[in-house]
Point group: C2
Chain length 267, copies 2
């Protein structure tokens, strides 16, 4: 069965793209079939992976407006890793889609029609907003992964994001659940970081067994530490594993991959 | 004369809100009349300044849809400092405005009608996107200030942002210009940081005397260094000056204020 995971946080700059790129490639390095989706008009995931889309080639934009299927738009990065890339065409897609009946299901229709791609995990990188594209990702996903920077402003939006997940589950996608929260850019020396960890852990523990979409969500034990090598590797079009495999960033994303896979036994 | 400055960068998490809050208050501490505008539906500027909007009170949302004037929505923080706050009402404003004729000029109309507020500087905090709200800010502004994190992904969007500034100048706001770029979250030990500084400086130097909106833009000499105290102060509803006046964050934003004022002789 395919597991579709939307990586979302409307707060900007918290590690969404970095997590989709590095976790995605780490999963494929572990032999799993992975498809990455760049749903941001800034195309940062596409840039991070060093993919250049030739003029006229189909992208995620064409999948959303129903012009082509997933396999036509997919760029194969490795035999078991593909990317649905984004280009600046995407900057007008929200206005275009909003005029269509059933716009919320554009991505889900595209991904479901693309079952011919052999993949076990689909990871979707979302823009920093709770707009139309993010709603499309929530409607298409089985679960949500929330990268969280342990800062006050980043924590503020959490309640609204959970509320949006609840709304989408009630009206568009009954199977949607929060899989987990992963701390990114973590600096253990700060009291702010430690306080926020406690706050999130207590919140998720208190929700256990309730009827919410986050009743079985986890705060990943793995924490992604702040590490400048993670900010350097995109400029080389590489993941942290290719750029600096001995860095803390590579260690942390490998650990996150292992903890993530422990939740999904193979096959 | 009033100077309206839009603080914009569609890349998320680069220091837009932190700059509007701390530079804005620093300008008012220097005796200038300042009005801050929270144009982000996440209301981070409003949160950062510890402002709570009572139910039913007018906000920037009401100014945009023409329901009230600027002075009715303004929260006076000090005699020479006010805020046009945002609430979650703003999350639907883009869809609502997009259905109106002349939606791009909603903010400009609101600010122009509010000339009764005694202010010399208006600073607008924008969301991380080049959508309808950001276009409104560009149409209303005299100039743009770009906070830039010296990271590869943050640099990528610069060309598209400059292109958008050019478009707005050509079609909506002939006086619009780029005032400057300020480096935020700077870590001097990284080669990435130094390389990006050179790249931006060279780009702006090469543009001198051309017919672009950035022909006289500057890269501020003042650099805002990464400093965890800047991430802590919002949780107390305070600026860095109230929270930790001896921190590097307070030093850097004071220096930025002084450099900024040197460009605008008083009166
Ligand atoms: N653990 C880390 N340590 C240091 N830098 C990091 C780390 N993770 C990401 N970065 C860098 O921080 C910046 C923000 O990360 P990223 O772009 O992945 O966040 P995002 O949530 O996708 O941002 P946006 O909201 O703009 O889409 C990038 O420049 C990235 O290279
Ligand atoms: N110089 C700095 N050093 C350390 N942390 C900082 C600095 N400037 C801002 N921060 C913190 O980094 C995070 C991002 O900053 P901020 O929210 O101001 O960026 P933004 O561009 O407004 O983000 P968004 O795109 O989500 O609106 C915040 O948690 C903020 O407290
Ligand atoms: Mg991103
Ligand atoms: Mg902000």
């Amino acid at each position: 069965a395919v597991r579709t995971i939307a990586v979302i946080n409307q707060k900007g700059g918290v590690g969404k793209t970095t997590t989709v790129a590095n976790l995605g490639v780490a999963l494929s390095d572990a032999g799993r079939d992975v498809c990455l989706v760049d749903l941001d008009s800034q195309s940062h995931l596409t840039l991070h992976l060093g993919v250049e889309v030739a003029d006229g080639e189909p992208t995620i934009y064409d999948v959303l407006i129903g012009e082509c299927g997933v396999s036509a738009a997919a760029e194969m990065l490795k035999p078991n890793l593909c990317l649905l890339p984004s280009t600046s065409d995407m900057s007008s897609v929200e206005i275009e889609l909003s005029r269509r009946e059933g716009w919320e299901l554009s991505l889900r229709r595209g991904l479901e029609a693309g079952r011919d791609l052999p993949h076990e995990f689909v990871l979707i990188d979302c823009p920093p907003a709770l707009g139309l594209l993010t709603i499309n990702a929530l409607a298409a996903a089985d679960e949500v992964l929330i990268p969280l920077q342990p800062h006050f402003l980043a924590m503020q939006g959490l309640a609204r994001l959970l509320d949006t997940i609840q709304q989408v589950r009630d009206h568009l996608n009954p199977r949607l659940r929060l899989g987990g929260v992963v701390l990114c850019m973590y600096e253990s020396v700060t009291k702010l970081g430690r306080d926020i960890v406690d706050e999130v852990r207590d919140f998720l523990a208190a929700a256990r067994g309730t009827a919410t979409p986050w009743s079985d969500a986890r705060l990943f034990e793995t924490v992604i530490r702040r590490n400048i090598r993670l900010a350097e590797c995109p400029s080389h079009g590489k993941t942290i594993f290719e750029y600096d495999p001995r860095s803390r960033g590579a260690e942390d994303y490998t650990a996150l991959r292992d903890e993530f896979l422990s939740l999904y036994p193979a096959g």
